[in-house]
Symmetry: C2
DNA sequence: TTTTTTGCAAACAGTTTGCAGCACA
DNA sequence: TGTGCTGCAAACTGTTTGCAAAAAA
């Protein structure tokens, strides 16, 4: 969904395209990244130092309700905040490395199949779909193996020698 | 995963099986429902009125870390809390009706395929996977159609006659 | 007896709400 | 011109932490 069509969608619903919303829409759309409200707020402040955090939340809620952005958790990597991305036609899963935080997107037929099966199997009308997968990326698997190794070979204080009870 | 094997897993890790944990484990395991921390706490209080909410959170975190329960959002139907279920071998998606809140579980090959493709495509080691789908169940689709109809036929105050500006 | 676990109070993070003034259309 | 939107302060929800007392092993 393009910035222009989002702006159109706003107008259609009688919503106003304010300076603040302009900024936020551009940020969400431009940065391919998955931003959370706070990050978005910080970036927006660079362009409008007077913008308020609350406006960011309100704008995100509006976009979410309008189906213009999707909300992600990314397996709560990094906390309990939500992340946002502009909705794209093509369904995709988010694959997130729990060690380095890297997020990959996976487009593939199993997702279409899944959606289709759920629609036919349950007679369900799918509006929102979210698949998130956590684990270790190829790179971090080897790093992690090494880390575990080092821990095993040099256990410095696994069970620290019994230390005297702390005095209050 | 059975209650017994969970208890075994605790002992193996040198964790204690306290009265409180007993209660919580039983509740999570017995009720097929997807409980959130607060609900779990309320249920637990019926069996032990002195149990504390914090203990519930700590126990859930422990079980989560140990891979004994899975954490769900159920598309934030009903708020921002998390829901929990004991981990089962068979991967499944949660299909949630955004009108009535009913949750269906979907087991099916697309999920296995998806996991497999992500492992081979990215060389990724999958530890956690979560697929949640929101929309309307068969039943609520018809109810919703009717609701929308009624709204259209008898628009009581869609744009309420302009009323005098509220006096401060 | 020792180490883990609990309960309590208080803190915390992320997000929402009420309201008066501001600004798009 | 008027309704929608913003900023501010304050509330709120879900969850976590510090600490002393209680309870498993």
């Amino acid at each position: 969904m393009t910035l222009e069509s989002i702006q159109g969608s706003l107008k259609q619903r009688g919503l106003r395209l304010t300076r603040q919303r302009q900024i936020l829409l551009e940020l969400i759309d431009q940065t391919g990244a998955h931003l959370d409200a706070e990050r978005l707020f910080q970036l927006a402040k660079e362009r409008d130092p007077k913008i308020n955090r609350v406006t960011v939340y309100r704008t995100l809620k509006m976009l979410k309700t309008g189906g213009l952005v999707d909300e992600l958790d990314l397996m709560h990597y990094g906390g309990d905040q939500h992340y946002y991305e502009t909705r794209v036609k093509q369904e995709h899963a988010h694959v997130i490395c729990l060690r380095c935080g890297r997020v990959e997107e996976f487009f593939g037929e199993p997702l279409q199949r899944l959606r289709h099966q759920i629609e036919t199997h349950f007679g369900f009308e799918v509006l929102l779909a979210r698949t998130e997968i956590g684990g270790y990326c190829a790179h971090c698997q080897t790093l992690r193996a090494r880390e575990l190794d080092e821990l095993r070979n040099a256990p410095p204080e696994v069970k620290p020698a019994r230390r005297p009870a702390r005095r209050k």
